[in-house]
Amino acid sequence: MAGAGGPARLLELFGTMLATRRFEEVVYALFAEGHFSGHYHLYIGQEATGAAVIGHLSGRDTIFSTHRNHGHLLARGGDPAAALAEILGRAGGIGGGRLGTFHLADPAIGMPHTSALVGGAVPLAAGSAFGAKLLKTGGVSVGFFGDGAFEEGVVFETLNLAQLWRIPVLFVCENNTPGALTRAEGGSNTSYLPGGRVSPVPEALGIPTHVVDGADLEAVDALAADALARVRRDGGPVFVEALTIRWPGNQSQYPTMATGETDLAMAWDAGRIGNEHRGWFAADDPVLRAARRLLELGAADAAALQAMDAQVRARMAAARETALASPLPDPATALDHVLAGAAR
């Protein structure tokens, strides 16, 4: 499938993906070094979906995300230093330390609010689009959520309402493989959806629904272009199920860096891939896949990709230092912003 904007566009989206990957590696390191506490979730393995979909949005549009939101924020143009500071609970964070990793959002970039409750932001995304429709702003919304959201009733309610009220919203289910934790690993079956696919549900409601390989940057890019064009043209909901293979480090609470810091050279030098997690490196990692595709298309050579990576790493290292240098919030501000308007 051809990308929506050719190799140059793919290279740009790859830059977003790589920034997200390096950002998440910094988050992992900060946690491992004890700089923040509480459980957290990384977007590793899903970078192509967020980068490609969000790459088609304008400033009028909004996105809503989940507990796995870091990649969405960065793709939407969020500041990595302010995001890291927020994760660390610092005054210089996007929300002054009120959000943490669970709720990264920034209304200045069209990402008003992030819900860490499973399915919680799905109606908000529809609502934002509903507001835009009634206020005639021309904006649309994208709601990102995982396959687990289909275990929550409010998601069905929202899909039904989006059809009934003709709401211009793109639902993007990032299906990172349901039921991936076996019982032995502490998991259990959570859904009877056939094949672990959620798409039969929106299909049953008559919502235009598409399934895509969520780790295929070109495919998601092309589909997102079509899907968003349809949302804007028809003024109703469209549903995309983006399938990805679950990153081996993705656990229900604390990620592990199972696949190590990403070695970009694996994209062009298969000899660097060992036996452990071979399938991930060879076929599933969206960052390595996109790098290989860029090389194939001649959009960049290995040296250019390495140079890009060096720049991204330097940017994230600087963001890390900025975040760590940010002061802690003043405890006297803990009551600020409970209510809008005068303090009560």
Binding site: T62, F64, I94, G95, G96, R98, L99, H103, A105, P107, A108, P112, H113, T114, S115, L117, G120, A121, V122, P123, L124, A125, A126, G127, S128, A129, F130, G131, A132, L134, L135, T137, G139, S141, G153, V154, E157, T158, N160, L161, L164, W165, I167, D336, H337, V338, L339, A340, G341, R344
Partner: protein
């Protein structure tokens, strides 16, 4: 004018005046048999009135997202018991929106419910969720008792930048009273003295104000002058009005349809005990619904109800 007509008047005015105001259709008249004339409103603002399916969580979530986008949705949920189905969206998303953005996002929606014991509502149609709501940060709570306040508080709720839960008592919808013409706004956080008196302060909201006034009339025949304070809003709370009144009377009764544990009455009594202990001649008394579900049978329902008789008895107990 009836309470229902006054309430509708505020909504009609706001929709005519401001195109950000939208109505997620519901049943403002509910099962009361009251027929309100929404017809011309729908004609004028068809694009801003939508008909909801039975999806409280989805509707409140969508209204919250729409409010974040700049709309001012009014969401009639109907019977207050149903609000629990949207609890997560209300408490965590709408209630948290401003805080979670460090003050940059607002969610100015109005959720309208009819709370309380209404005769035959039983366990699942008689809830008074105001005490549980009061425990949640980030949500304003309005509870009028008169037609004029229904209109004035609704206007304030619609134009507030916070999520507001607006509670009518089912049994107030037909209450008659004078209503100011035009754009009548009653600010939140300003209690009203529904009846002045020197001997005892009775604090109430919503239908309990009516019960307290009935109790006060009975007590007056015996020479006991009860001052009835109508809170009008719980968030923000007019603590000053309560403490001023108790400062004059030295006695406090709080009438409240919530069950007693962690109730409106509990919070008011605790507040006065903390901030006005020296003003009190006697310990405050709470008159609540008895600590039970609401039974369907009228006899059992009456046995649970905090009514004028129980309020008057509580007052007499303080006058020894």
């Amino acid at each position: 004018m009836t309470y229902s007509e006054a309430l509708l008047g505020a909504i009609v005015e706001a929709m005519d005046e401001d195109e950000r105001v939208a109505l997620v259709w519901g049943s403002l008249g509910g099962v009361s048999g009251i027929k309100l004339d929404f017809g011309s409103l729908r004609d004028r603002h068809a694009d801003r009135i939508v008909d909801p399916p039975i999806s409280e969580a989805g509707i409140v979530g969508i209204a919250t997202g729409a409010a974040m986008a700049g709309l001012r949705p009014i969401v009639p949920i109907g019977t207050g018991s149903f609000l629990f189905r949207a609890w997560d969206q209300l408490i965590h998303e709408a209630g948290g929106a401003h805080y979670m953005s460090n003050g940059r996002v607002t969610a100015p929606l109005v959720i309208h419910i009819r709370h309380g014991m209404r005769g035959g509502g039983g366990v699942q149609h008689s809830q008074s969720p105001q005490a549980m709501l009061w425990n949640a940060p980030g949500i304003e709570i309005a509870m009028p008792s008169t037609p004029a306040d229904a209109k004035g508080l609704m206007r304030t709720a619609i134009f507030s930048d916070n999520p507001t839960v607006f509670l009518d008592h089912q049994m107030l919808l037909r209450r008659e009273g004078p209503v100011p013409d035009g754009k009548h706004a009653v600010p939140f956080g300003k209690a009203a003295v529904a009846r002045p008196g020197r001997d005892v302060t009775v604090v109430a909201a919503s239908l309990q104000v009516v019960a307290a006034l009935a109790a006060a009339a009975t007590l007056a025949a015996d020479g006991i002058e009860a001052e009835v304070i109508d809170l009008r809003s719980l968030v923000p709370l007019d603590q000053e009005a309560i403490l001023n009144s108790v400062g004059r009377t030295g006695r406090l009764v709080v009438a409240d349809e919530c069950a007693p544990r962690c109730s409106i009455a509990s919070e008011i009594a605790a507040t006065v005990a903390e901030k006005g202990f020296d003003l009190l001649k006697k310990a405050p008394v709470r008159v609540n619904r008895l600590p039970s579900h609401v039974a369907s049978s009228p006899v059992l329902e009456d046995a649970l109800r905090p009514d004028a008789g129980r309020i008057a008895a509580a007052v007499r107990g303080l006058m020894d």
